[in-house]
Symmetry: C2
Subunit: 242 residues, 2 copies
């Protein structure tokens, strides 16, 4: 694989997924994404260090110093985004990589895709791991109607209200409602949810997805989660009325 | 690859993605999913013919007749679902495959995952192509807050109301709203949306995702879509207020 001659990819903004655990990238990314990661010369990345490390893990023979990197994170002024498409305007492929998972979903990559769409430039999404989608697949919850809400409020009272609002939405149409939390607050969130929700509301906790050892996806009535502790691993929560 | 000795996968219900276009499965599925497709002996599938054909496309050397298949589709009585986990209760891996894309999302596979979760059986989701997620990634729309609504009503007046309801939801919090349509109604849906929505509401049309030739993801103000025709290919629509 490493001796392969690289081709020049067609000009487009490629939305390139990266891993969401310590799993070998070659286990969780399809060949088309791995090939583009080797061939693209211009990257826009959410975090420079993790992007360079990920490229090296995909293919140790990649010459990182020959590549160009621009950083797009939550501190980047929106007015800087359009210039990151300069190589593409000259006919060269640009790859967008977020810190974990699929760019454009729960990260600033969407701003770059929006800029490309406004100019009528081609945007190509690549298949890769998404903790939101993987959690939903294994939860057994409603995949016909669902919503992703990002982070819920940290304030205790506001969080309780938010959880009950989602529960009410689900009561109406059995939709499932997905949210995330920063890993060190996982156990607090679980305690808050098991208290705030009705005892029979289903609560899915999906932790360390794609990790060959630590991955766990469990759906239980909210009351059954009382007193449980969660590891400080990336976690997705989903609730649904039964 | 085809001469490789198969291992016995750990007992679990594996949610196995399949392709969503004519692309080579080895281009769009990661190695871990491809390996499990070769190793699992018991499958639950949404459509028997397409599942068998997909397995053959993944690996021509697979002996299809040595495998067991149960069918789970929208006509399957819910009372029949639990028995499909019988091999897993005896310690053997079961693989769930839907007709296209990721099982459990917009298909009946969620019922099988729910049955496994109720019994405390392990459920493992595998990475693969999801038209919903791929469309969102490339749309440039809000990936921090989004909802999937499945199919909108076919009746003209009800559909117009549904489109305007989604537009109003997006007006409130800039969330993006995703829906699908059966391919032969794509152009009708596009005409309805470009009429019903406000002219500056963004409308993304994502067609033939992962198809190396026919794929297209375009986001334009609703008014700009007026008079456009769409091919009869699987299509995802997303709307968002600017």
């Amino acid at each position: 694989m490493e001796a392969e001659v690289s081709e020049v990819p067609e000009p487009a903004l490629y939305m390139l997924p990266v891993g969401i655990s310590d799993a070998d990238p070659r286990e969780v990314l399809p060949e088309r994404a791995l090939r583009l990661l080797r061939e693209i010369r211009h990257f826009v990345v959410e975090d420079l260090r993790s992007a360079r490390r990920f490229l090296k893990r995909c293919d140790r023979s990649i010459d990182i110093d020959s590549l160009s990197f621009a950083v797009l994170n939550e501190h980047t002024p929106l007015s800087d985004v359009s210039s990151m498409l300069a190589p593409l305007r000259k006919g060269e492929a640009v790859g967008m990589m977020s810190e974990a998972g699929c760019p454009g979903v729960a990260d600033p990559g969407a701003d770059l895709a929006a800029a490309a769409q406004r100019e009528g430039l081609r945007v190509v999404p690549l298949t890769g791991p998404s903790s939101i989608l993987l959690a939903l697949m294994a939860s057994g919850m409603n995949g016909q109607q669902f919503a992703f809400h990002g982070y819920l409020p940290v304030d205790e009272e506001a969080r309780r209200r938010a959880l009950r609002d989602l529960e009410r939405l689900s009561e109406r149409d059995r939709s499932s409602h997905i949210f995330i939390e920063t890993p060190y607050r996982n156990s607090k969130m679980l305690a808050a949810a098991s208290e705030a929700l009705r005892p029979d509301t289903l609560l899915c906790v999906a932790t360390a997805l794609t990790d060959p050892v630590k991955e766990s996806v469990k759906t239980l009535p909210a009351a059954r989660w009382a007193g449980c502790q969660l590891p400080k691993e990336p976690t997705v929560f989903i609730i649904q009325r039964p």
